[in-house]
Symmetry: C2
Subunit: 215 residues, 2 copies
DNA sequence: CATCCAACTTGACCTACGGTCCACTTTATC
DNA sequence: GATAAAGTGGACCGTAGGTCAAGTTGGATG
């Protein structure tokens, strides 16, 4: 796992240039309007270089997203409450939802691109041994987010289907209409409603039909 | 709006053949694996015919979805309670959510295709004057679903952001992980959790932070 | 039933994009 | 400065959505 020859100077420079260029383009154009060739051109490198470094469109987007969400992941696992460990589950959940909305809000274009990119990826190709791709195809960020939300819900309400509820909560942020809302800057509006949903779920009176009723 | 020359017999036959073929393919393959050419071949027509009738991949998918969801729309607007008018908002909402899960569950592939298709559509082209496309690009079905949910939530809880909550509720059903769940047949599991969310929202104790706290 | 025209059909064709390949250049090491 | 591993670029490939001009056909009309 230790990498003796981590990366050549020019390679590092190019990688950053590509990432930067992607950010730039993502900020100015609809994600499905941005071709890999454009990105390469904007970064001042050849298309081959982009694919060499990131493997595929999806790889690029995931890498970019990972970079952006790293701080959040860190804050959650090792940071201070309420985001980090220590606070009660509800508080952590609320804080985490706020944080996610924030991240997503500042990365709408990227999120959309991630969604589109999922379309592609015919063959994962070689890639350095760093890419862990699961069966589904969901990107790593989602995995962490989902795991965290799921755990928090289950901690507070073991009787609920935390796993699914986490997907529901997360899925709602990814939908196009919501993304468009974020685009218009109504971040806090989203955060407020998401909190309302989460609060409602955690406070739910255990009503409804009992699980197991269905196939 | 009255169409004197509605459609020629052969055209109607072909349209149905195309729709049928699409259903068939959608049932057997991943949506992004199905090309328009395949559809045309399966329907026994030329590719040009498909585009002539539906304008684009998106157009085809929307048409198919509209056909499928028509019954639901009808049941909601003119049918008996609890889906139709007459029952209290909560009951109608629950019934509607169940119904939507059902429709979505029986049309996962189509939903996914709709999502992918959104990628395309560079120029809406001519099209018969029947397509109303809004600024965003969301398909008509969503409009109706969203409007209904939104109205029901607002009816019961005018203090909440029904419009956004409806998007959240709907968005959650569209996300890939949830779609995959449906694929595995866990329809009722989804329905149960969705009900829980909706119930939680409607019963919410108006807590949380007052709107306007953020920016 | 013959005529006619607009609607319809078709498949070759165009364009664009994701991804691959490999000959060539650069970096870092000794 | 020689060398080999790492990196680079851009021509190239296959595929798929969408277009179009030329030909075909349904059906209304007299």
């Amino acid at each position: 796992m230790a990498e003796a020859r981590p990366e050549r100077a020019d390679a590092a420079r190019n990688r950053r240039a590509i990432l930067r260029a992607t950010e730039e383009l993502l900020a100015r154009h609809r994600p499905d309007q941005i071709s890999m060739e454009q990105i390469a051109a904007a970064a001042g490198v050849g298309k081959g270089t982009v694919f060499h470094r990131f493997g595929s469109r999806m790889g690029l987007m995931v890498e970019l997203m990972r970079e952006r969400a790293y701080a959040l992941e860190d804050a959650v696992t090792t940071g201070p409450p309420p985001l980090g460990p220590g606070a009660p589950p509800e508080e952590r959940l609320m804080a985490f939802l706020d944080a996610i909305v924030d991240v997503v809000g500042r990365n709408k274009g990227l999120l959309a691109a991630l969604g589109h990119a999922a379309t592609a990826a015919p063959r994962p190709a070689r890639e350095q041994g760093e890419h862990r791709d699961e069966a589904g195809g969901e990107h790593p960020l989602h995995r962490f987010w989902h795991g965290h939300i799921s755990a928090l819900i289950t901690a507070r309400r073991p009787d609920l289907d935390g796993e699914l509820l986490a997907h529901i909560l997360l899925g709602s942020i990814q939908s196009e209409p919501v993304l468009r809302l974020l685009e218009r800057g109504e971040t806090s509006r989203l955060a407020a409603s998401l909190r309302a949903v989460a609060a409602g779920v955690l406070a739910a009176p255990a009503s409804g039909d009992p699980p197991g009723t269905s196939a």
